[in-house]
């Protein structure tokens, strides 16, 4: 069996490439059984999205240009959500080096979401029933969360676990780019790149060393695993 080393999963978001098409959001919701809550609930601030696109307008009318910034859980190395959970439902995975939301432990105090500077955690305020044929769309690899449970982006940990198990079964190491979260897979502009940051040769490591790199709210010292590459030109609009 191939020698295994713990991976340090990371994501790079190239804002130069992001067109704000929201394909990542649709892919994420379908992969992770994220319910669609409807317009009214979103207006109440109870939207359920694991990734969202923040849109900014630059310039004065008529010369305005939009810029887009996909924001998901930053999988902080020093996560503010973890120490506040009274039931250890928000724990750090030693193996995957990401933050986990353990649904079956969560009692719904919502401390973690209130302490998250990125607003990455969302809460199931109700049970969102799916009409009958739609239940066939649910992904059997992901738990369907019930009412009163916190949830967030997991870097599609089900795909990480499945990919590693597949590599072990075939007796080889994981290849760079073999594991892709749903958002990365769906991105038509290849603005999102996922991979192992502990391997200096992986594509994500090379991009994360780019001079355009920055982290969201870097000054808070949360050590995010998601690196943003700043857009440098005047695009779109």
């Amino acid at each position: 069996m191939a020698e295994e080393r713990p991976a340090k999963w990371g994501l790079v978001v190239d804002l130069d490439r992001c067109t704000g098409c929201n394909a990542c959001i649709a892919a994420c919701s379908m992969e992770n059984n994220v319910p669609f809550v409807g317009e009214d609930e979103v207006a109440y601030g109870r939207a359920l999205y694991w990734i969202r696109t923040q849109r900014y307008w630059e310039g004065e009318y008529p010369a305005v240009t939009p810029t887009f910034q996909p924001v998901m859980c930053q999988q902080c190395g020093n996560a503010p959500c973890e120490p506040v959970c009274p039931v250890y439902a928000s724990v750090h995975s030693e193996e995957e080096q990401i933050n986990l939301a353990v649904y079956n432990r969560c009692v719904g105090t919502r401390y973690c979401a209130n302490n998250c500077p990125y607003f990455a955690r969302v809460f199931n305020w109700f049970d969102y029933e799916l009409p009958e044929p739609m239940r066939s769309y649910l992904n059997p690899d992901v738990t369907v969360r019930r009412r009163g449970v916190m949830e967030k982006c997991t870097f599609c940990v089900q795909r990480i676990v499945r990919g590693r198990q597949k590599a072990r079964a075939e007796g080889r190491e994981l290849r760079d780019g073999e594991i892709q979260p749903a958002c990365v897979q769906a991105c038509p502009a290849e603005a999102l790149v996922f991979g192992d940051l502990s391997d200096p040769e992986s594509r994500v490591s090379q991009l994360a060393r780019s001079q355009r790199r920055y982290h969201l709210l870097e000054e808070l010292g949360t050590l995010p695993r998601v690196t943003y590459l700043k857009g440098v030109g005047n695009h779109g609009g």
């Binding site: 713990p6 724990v91 995975s93 030693e94 193996e95 995957e96 990401i98 986990l100 353990v102 649904y103 079956n104 690899d141 992901v142 738990t143 369907v144 997991t154 940990v157 089900q158 990480i160 676990v161 198990q165 072990r168 079964a169």
Partner: protein
């Protein structure tokens, strides 16, 4: 002169307390009992007979070698052998009925995990864990029996015992819950 009894010595309170304890105890006993009886199967499949004849577990449950679910055999798998075997048992007449109507056999899964537990057979089979370790002495069962006390502590206990050097990975929440 009658001495006034404290409230907890009065007959009514004691009877009420006894009733509450009895209900709780009865509920616990029936709950444990009901969760341990095997579910009704469409065909009372005798595992004992098949194992004694030398059938491997993975002959009828082959997906254990490559997938999360071991799978339950369909009519073509059963009929592959049984169309050549004399039908002496009334259970085999039921099987012949399913084959004639070309219906799937509605087996009831016995070894099930809750929705938030993602168990995969493949790594366990690859690590050389015998089926009996988790599924009990199937070679002595007729229909498969649910195994009691298969909880998270039981999983972690085995992980720690079998792979102490790999326990960081095997005790990670994301190994089974996502």
């Amino acid at each position: 002169m009658q001495v006034k009894k404290p409230w907890w010595q009065s007959g009514g309170v004691r009877i009420a307390l006894a009733l509450v304890l009895l209900i709780l105890f009865g509920g616990a006993v029936s709950g444990i009992y009901l969760s341990q009886i095997p579910p009704e199967q469409p065909i009372a499949f005798p595992h004992k007979t098949h194992v004694a004849l030398g059938a491997q577990c993975t002959y009828c449950h082959p997906a254990a070698a490559w997938g999360p679910n071991a799978g339950l055999p369909g009519i073509s798998k059963c009929w592959g052998c049984h169309q050549q075997v004399q039908k002496k048992s009334p259970e085999l007449e039921k099987l012949a009925g399913y084959v004639q109507r070309n219906e799937p056999i509605p087996w009831v899964p016995v070894a099930i995990q809750p929705d938030f537990v993602k168990f995969n057979h493949q790594p366990h089979v690859q690590a050389g864990i015998a089926c009996e370790t988790c599924h009990g002495p199937v070679s002595q069962m007729t229909v498969a029996l649910p195994q009691p006390r298969q909880n998270m502590g039981w999983c972690l206990d085995c992980h720690q015992r079998m792979r102490p050097n790999d326990f960081v990975r095997l005790s990670d929440c994301a190994t089974c819950h996502y």
